[in-house]
Amino acid sequence: MSKIRVENLTKIFGKHPKKILQNVEKGMTREEIFKMTGQTVGISKVNFSVNEGETFVIMGLSGSGKSTLIRCLNLLNKPTAGKIFVDDENIIDYDKKELREFRRNKIAMVFQHFGLFSHKTVIENVEFGLEVKGLSKEERYDISKETLQAVGLKGWENFRISELSGGMKQRVGLARALANDPEIILMDEPFSALDPLIRRDMHSELLDLQSKMKKTIVFITHDVNEAFKLGDRVAVLKDGEIVQIDTPEEIIENPANDYIKNFVRDIDRSRILKAENVMKKAAIKFGKALQPKIAITLLEEADVDYGFIIQRETSKLEGIITIDDLALAVKQKKTIEELMHSDYKAVHKDVYIKEIIEIALDTKYPIAVLNDNEEFIGRIHRGTLLKALI
């Protein structure tokens, strides 16, 4: 079910945004409108939906409208046109009081430069959302303490914000958002201000937390690797418009246009693509009782060097045999079972290529790919791996 649904969302910055709207409808580009009127189209006619429990990443270069978009989702920016449905209610129609309730209970935000209150201690910062809601001091304290522990800041409760490192500050920012137990968390480039190493820690921490909490997360970044690492789905934004929305694997394999192709060029594919994404499904499969001679014809017809021996009833892989082995079998009158190799390597379909490369170095046979039931579903050769990486 979709938690957030955004329809035709447009945000224009300027004195008379409604007037400019017609131009957007007519399909004028952001640049043309800026030249003509001096007003900026932050985002134009954006459509997407975010599923419950999904991490949805919005990626784009600086100035592409990422912040504008995410700030519309909790109405820090008032959209010029369009609809935003959260749980099938259009939040743009909310009055002041409904908006406050929405912000207090359903949605929380983590800011790029943390947005922490420097006059408050760590725990007072985390308590803020609960304080605003009117919870008692004890309740606030207990919840906040627990939340701080969850983000790895146990023992730092009474420190001042200025005493923390960047990474710790953003943990406080995260804890402040989590303490409210919102259904949706908005994160606007939360880790951009951090060192690469700290950023990596924060990534694993977030993935870890998310696997337990299953919140709906909208995450902004300009870093492709970050986007693909964290996102279940990624939307690419360019000049205020969405160019492509897909899973990371799908974006890498089928980029919508040259812009996206360029974008994903520098990315470390071996950490994104999985066995399933690169394997060849077509394979010559036969049972171990087959006549070697017939097997040879099958392989020759398909112009391949290897055959996979499958157990008929279970679809499980039993071994691999080369065309040379088969020729030997014919000559020495042996069966396939006697000559097949069972020292082949197999991987699960969700294993990343990065790990498969290491496996590929220790075997001379193709690598078999198995599904959850350990059934054979495809094969990976060294050549396939290389191709997938360029």
């Binding site: 929380a108 800011f111 420097s118 959302g129 809601k133």
Partner: protein, 282 residues
């Protein structure tokens, strides 16, 4: 010689006088309530200071000075206060402090909310700004005139003039402080569903406090300067002693009372200033 022709002469003062008379008669209630308000605060201050024994006052100044500035400063302030007493100006000093404090309290009660309003409403700011500019460029003596006109001679007009004179810095710095609270912090507060009032009280005012404290310090020092001037229209205290000394060309008295004022000014300045810097967060 060209003399200014008598024919153009027009006693504008008479008009103003009758206007003020009209004002004080028709708005007697209004001015009376200002008068009662000022007197109330002033008398409370005097009562408090007369009730505290002298050694307790010195003790408190020592402790506060020690806490906020260090042991040496604490001792220095103690010696200064003690010297004022030794020179025989203790009672006058208490009087001066009461007037200054009364004026400062009234200034803050008016000035901080005004400063906040003007940070929020551009229109108020546009009206207030030139008025504050004018107030700050006018010589302090000028404030004595409306004070006398409205309240006559005595303590009340002295406190009134002092209050008006010391009001601008706290308004200005409060506005500045509220306006410079980081946008991301305000948005963070809003994003959690805080009402504008909650954002003001829980985020903006605490964030603005260090700068507002600078305003408090400046306001206090302005009041301190003005209270001496205001002795011309009837505030008792150290300023009055200076005034008498000038009239009598009494060098000894002038020196002693002048020195007492300097000591008092130093103590008040340093204490309010360092209380302000204690509030800095980063």
């Amino acid at each position: 010689m060209f003399e200014f022709p008598q024919i153009f002469e027009f006693k504008i003062g008479k008009v103003v006088e009758s206007f003020v008379e009209w004002l004080t008669i028709n708005y007697a209630g209004f001015f009376d309530s200002i008068k009662t308000g000022i007197l109330f605060v002033l008398l409370k201050m005097q009562m408090i200071f007369e009730w505290i024994p002298w050694f307790v006052i010195i003790g408190i100044v020592f402790l506060v000075g020690w806490k906020v500035k260090g042991l040496k400063s604490g001792i220095a302030y103690t010696i200064m206060l003690f010297l004022i007493g030794v020179m025989g100006y203790w009672d006058q000093m208490i009087m001066t402090i009461s007037i200054v404090l009364a004026a400062v309290i009234i200034s803050l009660v008016l000035g901080i909310p005004l400063g906040i309003i003007s940070a929020y409403k551009k229109r108020v700011d546009i009206i207030l700004r030139p008025m504050l500019d004018a107030m700050q460029t006018m010589p302090s003596f000028v404030y004595l005139i409306p004070a006398i006109m409205l309240f006559g001679l005595g303590m009340v007009p002295a406190v009134f003039a002092t209050t008006i004179y010391s009001l601008p810095p706290v308004i200005r710095l409060t506005t500045l402080a509220i306006n410079s609270v980081s946008k991301e912090m305000k948005e963070a507060s809003q994003s959690f569903g805080a009402t504008p009032l909650q954002t003001l009280i829980k985020v903006e005012i605490p964030q603005a406090l260090p700068t507002i404290m600078t305003g408090v310090n400046q306001t206090t020092m302005m009041a301190m300067a003005m209270v001496v001037v205001a002795s011309m229209i009837g505030s008792k205290g150290l300023g009055y002693s200076v005034l008498i000394a000038i009239n009598r060309t009494d060098i000894a008295m002038g020196f002693e009372s002048g020195l007492s004022i300097v000591f008092l000014a130093i103590i008040i300045d340093r204490l309010t200033q360092s209380i302000g810097t204690k509030y800095k967060y980063d």
